[in-house]
Symmetry: C2
Subunit: 234 residues, 2 copies
Amino acid sequence: MHDTHLHHEDHLESSALLKDIVIGMSDGLTVPFALAAGLSGAVDNTSVIVLAGIAEIAAGSIAMGLGGFLAGKTEQDHYNSELKREYWEVDHLPQKEREEVKDFFAGLGLSEDVQEKATTELIKDKDRWVEFMMKHELNLDKPDPKRARKSAFNIGVSYIVGGLVPLSPYFFVDEATEALKFSVVITLACLFIFGFFKSKITGVNPWSGGFKVMLIGAVAAATAFGIARLIEGK
Amino acid sequence: MHDTHLHHEDHLESSALLKDIVIGMSDGLTVPFALAAGLSGAVDNTSVIVLAGIAEIAAGSIAMGLGGFLAGKTEQDHYNSELKREYWEVDHLPQKEREEVKDFFAGLGLSEDVQEKATTELIKDKDRWVEFMMKHELNLDKPDPKRARKSAFNIGVSYIVGGLVPLSPYFFVDEATEALKFSVVITLACLFIFGFFKSKITGVNPWSGGFKVMLIGAVAAATAFGIARLIEGK
């Protein structure tokens, strides 16, 4: 077991950026891969597949990036509206809110006496009281205003980088099923490597993690391929 | 302002399912919409668009659904590995872990005396101590084992339902740019309605929320359309 301080800081620092990269890249590797595989089952010409793939990467990166940005903004709005409500409750229903603070301490297994003392001390400062309710009753952390913008960018770029991997063979190979073979090999390899490191960082078994991520891609691609074949009656 | 009990319960009950529907449907409405729009800018025949759209919906719903499922499993693995580590730390570095509990109470603004008493009482029970560290040091809640499966299903189905909306005109109209017009109208309307209710539930301004969601779809579709035109040199 290594140093706990490092463990905790690692945990906090890496988690936001990594979460974004994981969100963007796992979808970026998977969905354009499966779309290209599906089309390879139905059309012979790779130019349509390249076109559809690039349109998908553009659409997906914007939807995820802009989506992430606006989700961040919404989180801030939500936080602010709940904050207003908690101030209102502390002003108008102080007895009830006081009970909730005491319940929290009771839940930690403290004695009646210490519960009472801790509650009395905590609610002396109204701002601290509200902050406490936000965090421990509603489980809401104050969102970082810069996060939304950074997050949007990270997710969008990760999606594009991920999406170009499965699509790249279609740029160079004319026959769709031939390109698909290269795409399957490099994408499944990338998905495995990606899943492996993602798992290593989050502290779970990297081999099974890599396998799981690869499995999602394979199932999605095989299903899209099968459905496209069915539609085309091939 | 309405009853706080209801407010809190609403918050907890609806949030898991709603989050899944929001995740699945916002991407489902947006990405297949933008893909179809992009292809409409480059090909005349709607049959290729229907094919690509269905392949995308299959790929996307599996990637998101299975992705959600495995993310849930990973969250459990992560929780268990951190739990083991906290037990280890409580056994081997009890003084340090005790300090961290006391720091938490200090952060709430309690007096030295109450901090000390509360800490002494809390760490009497080792399981409670570890549970406290998991929740308040690492910010990890015990994941619900059933959630992962339910979540996968909800996200996947929401994606399919969302994705069929923008694609539906292409089933009935032969000419791509003609179908695109219908697709734009119904999808932007659905995105607005979806964003409106989503915002209403999360307690932010529904009009601006609806507009934001619609904007993401419009930007993604316009970009995909523009890029596809460029590629085809139209």
